[in-house]
């Protein structure tokens, strides 16, 4: 786009110089302002909206986190970094952080891998394509609460279907609500159930954009389907993979609904086996302590963690992407 508009802009002043004697009318001046300003005006709604609903809460939360602030009682004394120190000294916070990362890894990694695989299958020449493609999105339409209800029944320790099946083939019942890892696996499976289909469709859309002649060339070179997938499809999908990894990181670190609904108390288990950081935030702010100050501190800590992880993610995936960039760019131009 840029390269095509620049010459036009270059030509314009020279034209107007030729006609210099003409007075610069108001309408013309307006037109010039129009050219300069309107693009900014057109994109401003997003930034104005972001400032109101994104930036302001962020800064206000920082302000709250430096005060004693009761849910109902409201603003109290200024305490500086005390809330942050208090939170960082609480064992439950570190437990929550461990759980969050564990659930995040257990859900995001298989999610991305499975989504790519399913997308590759759906990309093949199938009968009733639309049916299968819409089908994978169905779980995403189901409300998280409903998913939790169904999975709660499946993962019930004694009466659950999964343990009944395991018992049938002679495996000891798994204590889904008592063991740390088992509870994380159960929760991750709910997350995966909902999000795999969603990510599959994103990958599928990207796959459809891969030029078909690449595959033809690969076939001519004698590549099998597997080789085509790894040497053509995956490299071409890199920008999409970055997008999916970043969004699922943000979502995964903020996970709340599924673990909260995993049992009837919503506290993350008797020993906080599956309490996540957002659940800890909620408990401090609205549950036992009603301390908005501390809850805001947790919110900011989580924000910083997500930012750091996001940057790490970005730099790693960008390096991977830039390795193959020249090749793929050349191909796309063709």
């Amino acid at each position: 786009m840029v390269t095509s508009t620049t010459p036009k802009l270059d030509r314009r002043p020279s034209r107007s110089q030729d006609r210099e004697p003409r007075r610069l009318g108001f309408g013309q001046r307006l037109g010039r302002w129009d050219v300069k300003l309107s693009p900014y005006l057109y994109i401003s709604p997003f930034f104005i909206l972001f400032a109101i609903v994104g930036m302001f809460p962020l800064l206000y939360t920082a302000w709250v986190s430096m005060h004693q602030w009761h849910l109902i009682g409201g603003q109290g004394e200024f305490v500086g970094m005390e809330n942050f120190l208090h939170v960082l000294q609480q064992p439950p916070f570190w437990k929550a952080l461990r759980n969050t990362f564990s659930i995040f890894l257990l859900s995001s990694v298989p999610q991305v891998l499975l989504a790519i695989t399913i997308a590759a299958v759906l990309d093949a020449n199938l009968r009733a394509k639309t049916f299968w493609r819409m089908g994978v999105l169905l779980p995403f339409v189901v409300a998280p609460v409903a998913v939790s209800l169904i999975f709660g029944k499946l993962f019930a320790d004694q009466s659950g279907l999964i343990n009944a099946v395991l018992g049938g083939i002679g495996i000891e019942p798994i204590r889904w609500h008592a063991d740390v890892l088992a509870s994380h696996v159960a929760i991750s499976s709910m997350v995966n159930f909902r999000w795999i289909g969603y990510n599959t469709l994103i990958f599928l859309a990207a796959m459809q954009a891969v030029p078909r002649e690449l595959y033809e060339a690969a076939i001519l070179d004698g590549a099998g389907r597997l080789r085509q997938f790894f040497s053509v499809t995956v490299p071409m999908l890199r920008p999409t993979i970055i997008f999916v990894v970043v969004t699922s990181t943000i979502g995964g670190l903020q996970i709340f609904d599924e673990p909260r609904l995993f049992d009837q108390f919503g506290l993350g288990g008797g020993d906080r086996q599956w309490m996540t950081v957002t659940m800890y935030l909620y408990e401090i702010g609205w549950g036992s302590q009603k301390s908005f100050g501390r809850a805001a501190a947790v919110a900011w800590i989580l924000f910083i963690i997500i930012l750091v992880i996001g940057l790490i993610n970005f730099s790693i995936t960008r390096r991977i992407a830039s390795d193959s960039a020249p090749k793929s760019r050349k191909k796309q131009k063709r």
């Binding site: 609903v53 302001f56 809460p57 962020l58 206000y60 939360t61 709250v64 849910l71 109902i72 009682g73 409201g74 609480q90 064992p91 439950p92 709660g152 029944k153 019930a156 320790d157 004694q158 009466s159 659950g160 204590r175 609500h177 008592a178 903020q254 709340f256 049992d263 009837q264 108390f265 919503g266 506290l267 288990g269 008797g270 020993d271 906080r272 086996q273 957002t278 935030l281 909620y282 702010g285 609205w286 549950g287 036992s288 302590q289 009603k290 908005f292 809850a295 805001a296 947790v298 919110a299 900011w300 989580l302 924000f303």
Partner: protein
């Protein structure tokens, strides 16, 4: 994090938007002409479905909107958030007794409901729970939870124990029933059948702690004393020993999926049953025969739960809301609610009403539930003190019991140590 962010933004935006209604109850009650809409927020089952249309037909100028939360916890979160925001509460909000004290810390947020008309309407201890230190009544009592023992007659019989109502009451010690006796019977049952006796350690603990006058906090200083209380620790240890060592507990968390399905496969023989629990049992144990209810409770009487109707000062119609709350909590209406959903009345007059006493329950082998629960209500002697931290401490205790009885990840001592830590973190 957006939850917190949204919450605090809410405060900021609303703080400017709404001037507090400091005029109090200046408005006169609308008589006839003015059309107004009142909202009422409840949770679980209050039994108001038929009462609301009745009130509307009695007062043609009033339309009532009923907002029902699924659980008491959900209602609590809603009230807390909207109190913090300064707007959005219903004209009448139902509040559960366990978290009422949290709200009583902010008496200015609720209308004083004292009036001659309702003087002496409730059991003394019921209205005392909703009265602030300055003597203002901030909530009208709805139901109470007098506890009896619900049991499976067929399972007791199979264990060679008596199974009819009177003999079971006698088995637990009749009027002198004690917890020791209760656990003793449990051991007999478990020895005979090899099966657990009751559903959950948490439930038995609830029954016992509700008989302790000041379990978690000092009534004078409001200091949290739970972690140092020998009495609390004793109950904790006793219940868990009976539950795990003597294997009397089926090891379920109440309301969990496992607990609900255990009703269908003879998971346990006995449950502590406050009035509102009868409907829960009937729902979960659909198709199971043999449930009955005995007019007895260990350690004297006990009350588990119960709610109040409050009128937040946010309302624009305090007088009309007060009138509706008073009508809903009047003895006649409360008996109708009991018939519809089993919420047992807290009104003195209702307790002696023939309408209530004559009530029987077909599911529980036609037990005279009205009479039994009225007897149980009369037997309540101790009203535990519940301060602003009661709910939070009891939550921590629930987790401590779960660790040992349900999840079996800790033994009694380590779980207690973790409980003490959790209570300290509240400060």
């Amino acid at each position: 994090m957006w939850a917190a962010a949204a919450g605090v933004t809410g405060i900021a935006l609303l703080a400017t938007a709404c001037g507090s209604s400091d005029s109090g109850s200046g408005e006169p009650a609308a008589d006839g002409d003015e059309q107004i809409t009142l909202t009422i927020g409840t949770f679980n089952e209050f039994g108001y479905e038929e009462l609301i249309p009745e009130y509307e037909s009695l007062n043609p100028n009033i339309k009532i909107e009923h907002k029902k939360a699924a659980t008491a916890d959900e209602a609590r979160a809603n009230i807390n958030t909207r109190l913090a925001a300064g707007s959005g509460l219903s004209d009448i909000e139902a509040v559960e007794v366990d978290w009422l004290p949290e709200l009583l810390q902010y008496p200015d947020k609720f209308t004083d409901l004292t009036s001659d008309e309702v003087e002496g309407r409730w059991l003394d201890w019921k209205s005392a729970q909703a009265t602030d230190p300055e003597g203002r009544l901030l909530g009208y009592g709805t139901d109470i939870g007098p506890e009896a023992i619900a049991y499976r007659a067929d399972l007791l019989e199979a264990a060679g124990l008596p199974s009819d109502r009177e003999s079971v009451a006698a088995l637990f010690g009749g009027d002198d029933a004690t917890w020791d006796k209760f656990f003793e019977v449990g051991k007999q049952y478990t020895a005979a059948t090899g099966k657990p006796f009751y559903d959950s350690a948490g439930a038995i603990y609830q029954g016992m702690i509700n008989q302790v006058e000041a379990a978690y906090e000092d009534p004078d200083t409001l200091e949290i004393t739970a972690a140092d209380s020998a009495e609390v620790k004793d109950i904790f240890t006793t219940v868990l020993n009976a539950s795990t060592q003597d294997k009397l507990s089926a090891g379920f968390a109440q309301w969990s999926d496992d607990w609900q399905s255990a009703f269908q496969n003879d998971g346990f023989a006995v449950m502590l049953a406050p009035g509102w629990m009868l409907g829960v049992i009937e729902g979960n144990a659909e198709g199971v025969t043999g449930w009955d209810i005995a007019d007895v409770f260990p350690g004297g009487g006990g009350n588990w739960g119960g709610a109040f109707l409050t009128v937040p000062t946010q309302t624009e119609h305090p007088e009309e809301a007060k009138a509706l709350a008073a009508w809903l909590t009047a003895p006649e209406q409360q008996i109708k609610a009991f018939k519809s959903k089993g919420t047992f009345p807290s009104q003195v007059e209702a307790l002696s009403s023939q309408d209530l006493l004559g009530q029987t329950n077909a599911f529980f082998n036609n037990a005279p539930t009205g009479e039994i629960l009225a007897n149980r209500a009369a037997a309540v002697t101790v009203t535990p003190f519940k301060g602003p931290n009661y709910f939070a401490v009891n939550d921590a205790m629930g987790s401590a019991l779960t660790r040992v009885d349900v999840e079996k990840t800790d033994d009694i001592d380590t779980s207690w140590t973790k409980f003490v830590e959790a209570v300290k973190a509240l400060g």
